[in-house]
Structures are given as structure tokens and as C-alpha cells.
């Protein structure tokens, strides 16, 4: 059910389906730059054996993740398309395991997938397509699209499968809570550095007010970034999802 999983540098951070929904908390975010370092899981109090077992799995630093990627592309001759397809498929599988359609209210369950401007966004496009095949009803918001065949092809695949693309981001978290049962954060990945520019700054701000669960692809977007200041995406601590820093908290992850 829940264990930290990292395959070829791709990972998924999801809330377990048995966790309660979190009420929005308006606390300021203390994002720690040490999030990327090897995680020391808090001991004691967390009796969940699966969380404790995750201590044996290594978490990658940003440099390590980039090095893994480079080796896969250069030495193993994997293509971006290949790995992106496997990543997106695995993410959709993990999400479907964490939030099976029977556990959600609508039939088909509605999911909002927010895709960022890079490879994490590409993973999100693949994920959305597989979620559709698994019986969900995804909608995509993809405001900044790289003009490269890889991404335009992925968009075409989604469009041809009747997955709608929103023209704008719902401005209020409540609107998202009303329309969608789950949000997939495919905004920024492990290679993200620097400032969060618009429109993503605003998007992260809206997402921080959600009550529906968020599944982040690879890393919660905005984590490790000091200046966001507006509530990074949820982290799991003390058995509950919180809107605060990830520093020192353990993460619950689903394996595909």
C-alpha cells in the first residue's frame, strides 16, 4: 500500500486513501532547503510499519536524481519519450491504487491535472491519458507548453482522447474542490531551480487552499523553494496532511 518508491529517479508522493481530508490551513510556509537531502525519518510515535519500512529506501538528492537521469539517457540510451511514458503510467497506477474509483464519489471520478512547463508537465500529460483509460475523467490545465514534438504529441494524444484542457486556472480553491475530487500536481520536478514565476506562483497559491487531495508527481511543486512563502503543497506529518514545511516529516508514498 504505502512505501517510498523511487524507480529511475521518478517517484510519486501521494496521500493514502485512508487518510482523512485536511482542512485548509492558512499558516505560512517554512520551506527548508534541506528537503532535498537524505531524509531522517522521525522515529517514535509512528507505528505504521509501512512508514517505518520506508526508512530503508534511499531518497535521492537533486544532484543524484539528475545523475541517474543522465546515466539513463547517455549510457542506457533510454529516450525521454520512453521514460516519460513509464513514469506517467506508473504515476497513474499509483494514483489509482491510492484513490480507486470506488473510493471517490463521482462516476467517473473527476481529476484536475496541472502540468508545468517542463518534463514534470509531460509526465502529467501521460498520467492524465492513462487515468482516462483507467476510468477517471481527467481535465488538464497546461498554461505553458514547450514547443517541442514530444510535448505537442502528448497534447494531441490527450485531445484526441477527449480530455479537456482548461483555458484558465480556477481562481478559487473552492471551485476546484467543487468540481474535482483529486488534483494531480505535475508542475515542477526535481530539476526545478530558481524563482517560481507566474502563472505558477498563483497556481501554487490556489492549490494551497484546497481540501481535496493532491498527488504530486516526483516532488511537491515548490518544495525546497524559500521564496514561495505561500503554503507549499501538502506534506504528511503525524498521520495527517499538513500545509507546512516538509522538513523533518516523513512521506507516505504509493508504489505503482
Amino acid at each position: 500500500m504505502s512505501r517510498l518508491w523511487s524507480l529511475f529517479g521518478f517517484g510519486l508522493l501521494v496521500a493514502g486513501s485512508r487518510l482523512p481530508r485536511v482542512r485548509s490551513q492558512a499558516s505560512a510556509c517554512r520551506v527548508s532547503p534541506t528537503w532535498w537531502g537524505p531524509q531522517r525519518l522521525s522515529s517514535g510515535g509512528r507505528g505504521d510499519p509501512e512508514v517505518m519500512a520506508s526508512a530503508q529506501v534511499k531518497l535521492l538528492s537533486q544532484e543524484e536524481a539528475q545523475a541517474v537521469d543522465e546515466e539513463l539517457f547517455k549510457e542506457y540510451q533510454f529516450s525521454v519519450d520512453q521514460l516519460m511514458e513509464l513514469a506517467g503510467l506508473s504515476c497513474a497506477t499509483a494514483i489509482a491504487k491510492a484513490y480507486p474509483p470506488t473510493s471517490l464519489s463521482r462516476s467517473p471520478p473527476t481529476v484536475l491535472v496541472i502540468c508545468g512547463p517542463g518534463n514534470n508537465g509531460g509526465d502529467g500529460l501521460v498520467c492524465a491519458r492513462h487515468l482516462k483509460l483507467f476510468g477517471y475523467q481527467p481535465t488538464i490545465y497546461y498554461p505553458k507548453r514547450p514547443n517541442k514534438p514530444l510535448f505537442t504529441a502528448l497534447v494531441t494524444q490527450c485531445e484526441k482522447m477527449d480530455i479537456p484542457f482548461l483555458g484558465e486556472m480556477p481562481p478559487e480553491p473552492q471551485l476546484i474542490d467543487e468540481l474535482y475530487e483529486l488534483v494531480v500536481d505535475a508542475i515542477f520536478g526535481f530539476s526545478f531551480k530558481g524563482d517560481v514565476r507566474e502563472p505558477f506562483r498563483n497556481i501554487l497559491s490556489v492549490l494551497s487552499g484546497l481540501t481535496v487531495p493532491i498527488a504530486s508527481i516526483d516532488i511537491p511543486s515548490g518544495a525546497g523553494f524559500k521564496e514561495v512563502g505561500i503554503g507549499a503543497l501538502p506534506c504528511f506529518e503525524d498521520g495527517m496532511w499538513r500545509r507546512e514545511t516538509l522538513e523533518g516529516s516523513s512521506q507516505t508514498c504509493s508504489s505503482p
Binding site: 511514458e85 497513474a92 497506477t93 463521482r106 484526441k160
Partner: protein, 249 residues
């Protein structure tokens, strides 16, 4: 909009379960041209799903060390590429694949897939013994990824043809990808080297010759056919459960 996932009552009933060779090619063309899928994407999904199908019939915990060893025989065309992907995923799933890939394609996709297998320490045999007992003794099962629909045995060269002749005599289980190599994809009549696989893994959708398959298990593998395409080809596929990428027929 939301929740209307049920079948459209005006839709004609679909009872076609097999595709002809032309239809299979047309379906693939539609995916590649209209849907802009890349060949690499589809080959990866098919190969991954084929490996998953193997795990369903031969689950790892039930296997002895010897039974985990899998010989994957790959031809030079797309079927062989799917075999290379399948071998790699079997390795990731902790089986012990070995590949026999005598006639190597020069196209970049095949070359990259070969590199990926080599880098994952999957051995490539330089020749296939003709003594059937040696293969029966060394491997727990064989995956036939030699010929896909529309590829004539004579097109793939001597080594592949000889390999098929050997595979036909094996007593260990045989899993064929898409069609049993050597069968006529339309009629299912087997040529001189036609195989009798225990497991058939149809990729995307079953081909006509699958109607004559009489082995133990038949799966459809590769969950990527969009609903619209399925309807366009008036195809009825078995229902996939949950997140499965294989479905038993």
C-alpha cells in the same frame, strides 16, 4: 458531462473480437498519425504489458530458480522490438531473461532497446543450440517475439527460421507475442515452422489468427487503444480491471 461514462444506446453492438492484418495496420497508423503516438511509446507499452502477462501466468513466487530463467527470441522487426522491451521488464520484475536476437535491425529504436538490455546485463546468446533438450534444461519458459502479423518467415532470415524450428520442439512453456510466429495472421494456418504456444499475448487487440489458438491462456496486452478508435474498428475488447494493462480472454 460528468459521470456519463456509460455506453451510448445508439451505438451499434460490437461483437468483433479480432482484427484482420490490414485493420491492425490501419489501427496502428491511426494511432501514429492521428493520435501522434510515437512508435517507441507503443512498443514500450506493449513490451511492458507482455512482461506483465508473463507474470500472471508464471508468477515469480511460485517459480524455482531455473523456472525464472526466460529465453526471449527476437526477430528483426517490430515484434522483436517488443520482445526486447519485454525482456527488460522481465529483468526489472526479477526474472532472469536471456535474449537470442540473431538478425539485428539497424533502426535506432532496436539499437537503443538492445543497448538498454545489454546495460542491464541481460545476456545475448550468440547462437541457439539445436539440441532441444539443452534449451529445455536451461530455461523455464520461452518468449517468441520473432514474427508479427504481416511478416513472412522468409523475410527474417535463416537464423530466425532455424530458431523457430527448434522452438517448435520444446517441452517447456512457450509464450508468443501478438501472433504465434509462423502462423498466417489471417487464417491461423501454420506454416512448416508454426508454433503451438501455451500462451498468446495479443498486442492491443487480437488478430484473426487468434481464433485458432488453442493453448492455455490468451491475453490482450497493451492498454492504450482509445475508446473512439475501438469503436471505429467496431472492436470488442475484454474489460481491463483496475490498473491492469493485461486482460484475459
Amino acid at each position: 458531462m460528468i459521470g456519463a461514462a456509460s455506453r451510448d444506446p445508439a451505438e451499434a453492438p460490437e461483437d468483433r473480437r479480432f482484427l484482420s492484418t490490414e485493420e491492425a495496420a490501419a489501427l496502428e497508423r491511426e494511432l501514429l498519425e492521428d493520435y501522434r503516438f510515437g512508435r517507441q511509446q507503443l512498443v514500450e507499452l506493449c513490451g511492458h504489458a507482455s512482461a506483465v502477462a508473463v507474470t500472471k501466468v508464471f508468477p515469480l513466487p511460485a517459480l524455482s530458480r531455473k523456472q525464472k530463467t526466460v529465453l526471449v527470441v527476437c526477430g528483426p522487426e517490430q515484434n522483436g522490438a517488443v520482445g526486447l522491451v519485454c525482456a527488460r521488464h522481465l529483468r526489472v520484475f526479477e526474472y532472469e531473461p536471456t535474449i537470442f536476437y540473431p538478425t539485428r535491425s539497424l533502426d535506432p529504436l532496436h539499437q537503443d532497446l538492445t543497448t538498454q538490455c545489454e546495460k542491464m546485463d541481460i545476456p545475448f546468446l550468440s547462437y541457439l543450440p539445436t539440441e532441444v533438450q539443452l534449451i529445455n534444461d536451461a530455461y523455464g519458459l520461452v518468449v517468441d517475439a520473432v514474427l508479427g502479423p504481416g511478416v513472412e518467415p522468409r523475410e527474417v532470415g535463416g537464423p530466425c527460421t532455424r530458431a523457430l524450428a527448434t522452438l517448435k520442439l520444446l517441452s517447456i512453456p512457450l509464450v508468443s507475442l501478438d501472433i504465434p510466429s509462423g502462423w498466417d495472421a489471417e487464417t491461423g494456418e501454420d506454416s512448416e515452422d508454426g508454433l503451438r504456444p501455451d500462451v498468446l499475448v495479443s498486442l492491443g487487440a487480437p488478430k484473426r489468427c487468434a481464433g485458432r489458438f488453442s493453448g492455455r491462456h490468451h491475453f490482450v496486452a497493451g492498454r492504450f487503444v482509445p475508446d473512439d478508435v475501438r469503436r471505429k474498428f467496431a472492436l470488442r475488447l475484454p474489460g481491463y480491471t483496475g490498473t491492469d494493462c493485461v486482460a484475459a480472454l
